[in-house]
Amino acid sequence: MEDYPEELRTPPVSLVSIVGCPELHPSISAALSSQQPPMNTLALPDFAKASILARSGKPRDPLAPSQPPAGILKKDWLLKHRTRVPAAVAALFRADQVSGDPAQWLQACSDLENLKSAIQGKNTKLVVVLVQAQASDELSEDVTVALRKHAEIDSKHLVVLVEHDEAEWNRSLNKLKNVFVELCAAFYKEEGRRIKARIEKRNFASVELSIRYCFKVSIYAEFRRDWPEALKFYEEGVRVLREMIGTSTRLPPTQRLVEIKAVAEQFHFKISTLLLHAGKVVEAITWFRKHIRSYERVVGTPEVAFLHWEWFSRQFLVFGELIETTSTTIPDTLSPRFGTADNALTEWEFQPAYYYQLAATYLREKRYAIECSSSMANLTTEVNGVPESVMPSVYVGQYVRLFEQGDTVSVLPLSDTEYTSYALSEAERFQDSYEIIALFRKAYESFQSLGATRMASACSGGMAIEYYAAGDFSNAKQLFDSVAGLYRQEGWTTLLWENLGYLRECSMKLNSPKDFISYSLEMAALPLFSGSGAENRENKIKSGPAGSPTISRRENIQQEVINVLERKQSSEGTDDGFNNAMEEVTHLDIDQISPLRMVLTASVAFHDQSVKPGSPLLVSVSLLSHLPSPVVVDQLEVQFNQSDCNFVIHSTQEDSPPLDSNLRDQVVQDTSLTLFTNRWMRLTHEVKSGQSGKLECLSVKATIHKHLVICCHAESPASMEDFPLWKFENQVETLPTKDTALAFSGQKLIQVEEPDAQVDLVLNSAGPALVGELFTVPVTIESKGHAVHSGELKINLVDARGGGLLLSPREAEDSESHHVELLGVSTVSEDKESKEEADSIRKIQYSFGVVSVPTLSVGDSWSCKLEIKWHRAKSVMLYVSLGYSLGSSEEEALHRLNIHRSLQIEGQIPLLVSHQFLRPFRREPLLLSGIRSLGSDDKKCSLAMNESNMLIVTARNCTDVPLCLHSMTIQPDGDGEQLCSVPQISGISNGHAVVAPSEEYKGIFSVNPRAISTNFNLGEICLNWSRDSSLGEDQDRLIIMKEQLPEVSIEEPPLVVGMECPPYAILGIPFTIYVKIHNSTSLLQEIKYSLVDSQNFVFSGAHNHAAFILPKSEHIVSHKLVPLGSGSQQLPKITVTSVRYSAALTPSASAATVFVYPSEPKFNLETSHSTSDEIVS
């Protein structure tokens, strides 16, 4: 846009001229140009200069036939009208010049006359300005009239300026301004109308004039700021101009086209500017489209095609710049449905970047066209030569040759051939590449900021191609690389192919064989787009240096790589550039995201998931290549993280001697290592696992043609990704291994297990543990081949039923609440040193312990005992693990072996203690609470005061082992001793009693309460037991087990019924039973009693009777009975009923039983005692 002349780029401004009184000119010009709209002033200091206003051209002979115009637009016409043809001329006279001296008056008159003659024949208006010093200086009426008449002007065009009074000066200046504005409008309107009339009457001889008139009318309209009219005539001009292409014969075709386009460009620029400045973006873009469509095919002959493309590119550039400078936005009124019938425009057409990009594209076309033309022209211009002294003519878009002959300089027209060679030589002087790059860069940045990455990439690619064409290969390579990334990502292989082709050439030019090889290999491995065209066209410009993407081309490229590697003279002489840079061996590194993954992929799978150290294991190495031709691999080196496992496979076809012998790797010969396209080469090899830990395959290095080493990162088949570009291809998908399971789950790493520990860890346990006892578990460590160094024993107790900790959750804080507790570890060894050592690390917590084990040499053993105490019956898992290292050196210490043992130990309750209260034999105290609390749930046992109640405690052995019961006592609670005596009636006789499994032991106590209490605490049962030591085990520790007795209530019975009966009876011999009822109250008690008949006895006395018992006295009822049967006989049932308490008392069945001998027994006294004992127990 900057190339356009200034007058074209800015809107035209009215021009007026002032003549005379030069001292006033600056202030008048300033006042006029500050006006809105501004006005330019052509200031002439004196009237002698007025001649420049006169028409410069020669007067035309009105009778001569009008010459056809030599061009469409004159180049300086617009400039002339903006700078030299004023719309109005003001003649300035000082008042004293015209009023006083007649000589001065005459001078003024002649000046005026000259001025009038200068503007004669034009419509330029004349204004006369009289300059007065003061407003008070009156001019005589006749002077002004005379002046007016002389100048032939209206009175209003005579303006008086007052110089020395500021207010008056401004006022008069304003008046002058208004006169000028009015006259300018009139002038331009008149001029415009004059020309318009010619158009309307079609009063012109040629099309050229028609266009010229249109242009003029528009310019005059612009002077008047009549934009719609200007637009209308510009458009009309463009229309006529477009039609002229086929019709005009004035110039030779090439030059004609150049002229038309140059004019069209000016018209178009004017139209676009007008539309955009009026905010009519949509119209401007639509107009631009039309403009472009009108001219895009008008290329001209191939020799001058470059002129067309230059012009065409400029159209886009200028329009883009216009859009950018007017900072257009998409109008809100526009339908958002771009590109449809609602809104034919598209988003990008509002973006300058779009135009820049196309400008760059067309400028590139120009470059290609120049290249074509130059090559053609070289043949022809040899003869003719480039014409000299060619210059632009006075007409827009025309060129002429200056011809000097002596002193006369004449202008000669050019022939098309001359013009073509001139234009070509001019065009060749310019380097378009940098302009193209700048345009692409502008577009790139803009598209990038718009988020149009693909478009930006295309611009980047354009830049790169230009850099490439300009020979700046490092910049080109950088740009191509950035673009290739996007194409790789989105799988546009054809575009990638072009890019890589350039990259390949760049790296060759940059003397970088490694890049050359890697780009070539990537190209060779690219999947082809099936729809791509035939190969027959060898157009390197269109498809880049790579040629068309075809299979044969891919194969060629692969072969070129091989040629480079083998340093053969390739067809294109490729390795000339690499002579110095070629390294001995080229290394390529391919990881999982490398684009070269298509070239070679290595998948490594171990056949197992874990292995013992030192044992052989199978590993499958599979290689896949997408290169079109078979690849012969000389040598394959598989590398692991444990370098001992590395191995090398050689192809036997390779007749080179094997590698140096000091290489530790395993070397294998394989018959043939040839990779065919898209077919896995599967190799299975046996390696020996190394150290324990992770064994991972890192990489597979393939040596190809001796000088190319491709290092592939190993991939696990299980986690192998698709090939980025090949995944869209329709091809047979093959698996890296034959074993499908391995293909889907195989891993490139394997776990090498630890070596087997050769140390025994023995846990012994003597059956179940008993609650309360200190249970010991002996642990023995026995070395059977490994010396134990810095051994460590870890002990852990875990609830066997799960849940981990041996705590009840509520009481987790309380240390007492551990159900099972590890109390200690006692080492058996008496050695002091080792004990100290053991003490150094010994941490024992409730369920966890760590004990260090002294150093053991092979064959030694060490043992300790774990002391565990159960507080509750619980099943517990005991985990013991021994960690040790084989030696004391640092290296060995790092490598630790572990042995784990576990043991489930049941915790059992040893003795189940129960108790039972019994009343005194044949004494039945009436306990009122028993009657009253019938309804309540109070199960509290009631005891009668001052009676000897019986307490039987039963201890039952619940375990599988016999237990020794050492003592069984009742320990009274606090002051209970005074209130109640609990003497033991029977107990353990000789030290201890052995209770066999599931047997019971009973102890009998007599309870004699001496005070009334509803909640009396009898104390607790205290059992002293141990395991039966008679079985040989040396567990003689006494364990005390306590159990709380329930609370009892003690009350005083109001009545006590006792029954006296002989210990035995003899058949047929009468005996007497007495029922003694003792009233311990201070009330008279009425009782009733009854006796039920029994078939074994006859008795005397009443069946029913009643009696009154005095307070604190005893009533005795006696019956005489004769037993009728022998054996244990039930006495007749006696029921005593207390009327006051409505309670019946019946002696228990056992109390009402007597043994009847058939005859008088004969036994000695001692034995009779023991029998009585037995009966009691």
Partner: protein, 205 residues
Amino acid sequence: MVPVDVKPSSPISPHEWAGREPSQSPELLRGLSLATGRRQPAGGRFLRSSPVTGSSPLPGGIMIVCVAVVGHQNNPLYLQSFTEADDALKLHHIVHCSLDVIDERVNNPKRSAPTLNETFLGLLYPTENYKVYGYLTNTKVKFIMVTTDLEVKDADARNFFRKFHAAYVDAVSNPFHVPGKKIASRSFGARVSTIVKSFGSGTTS
């Protein structure tokens, strides 16, 4: 190269030019413009096959030069050009760049509101001497059509895409077709060629 049958300097009478869009009769310009072989996109075939009448707009004036199917990852699934000129590469570029416009149209929430169920995306952008039209299926597969730079009726474009969509659906319904892979079916290619040839012939059925 096109034979020159009109002398470069011979004028054509003005009345023949009047009222006709210049671009509609490119053969008349041939004498003057003589475009290079590369610069004829719709190119050679069009000029050669059409009779040099110039009096009426040619029925085959608009030509599809390229159709493409672009997958979910913006990868090309099918791309076929129908020009004899060697600008397959350029068409690849054009189709690829048009994905930017599709992205913009589809992701612009303000604009997509009234066109939520509209599959036809319209003219994506005019470039050089082509126009690019887009279509987005409900499975987000993109169809792109590149035509020569002449006025294309919306209805024609929609109609083309509808037929093309049907052909595409048939092609991917093939049980041997793996979704997401390139479409290699020959019958699809033949069908597309037929659709392309019938484009703009006025049969909108």
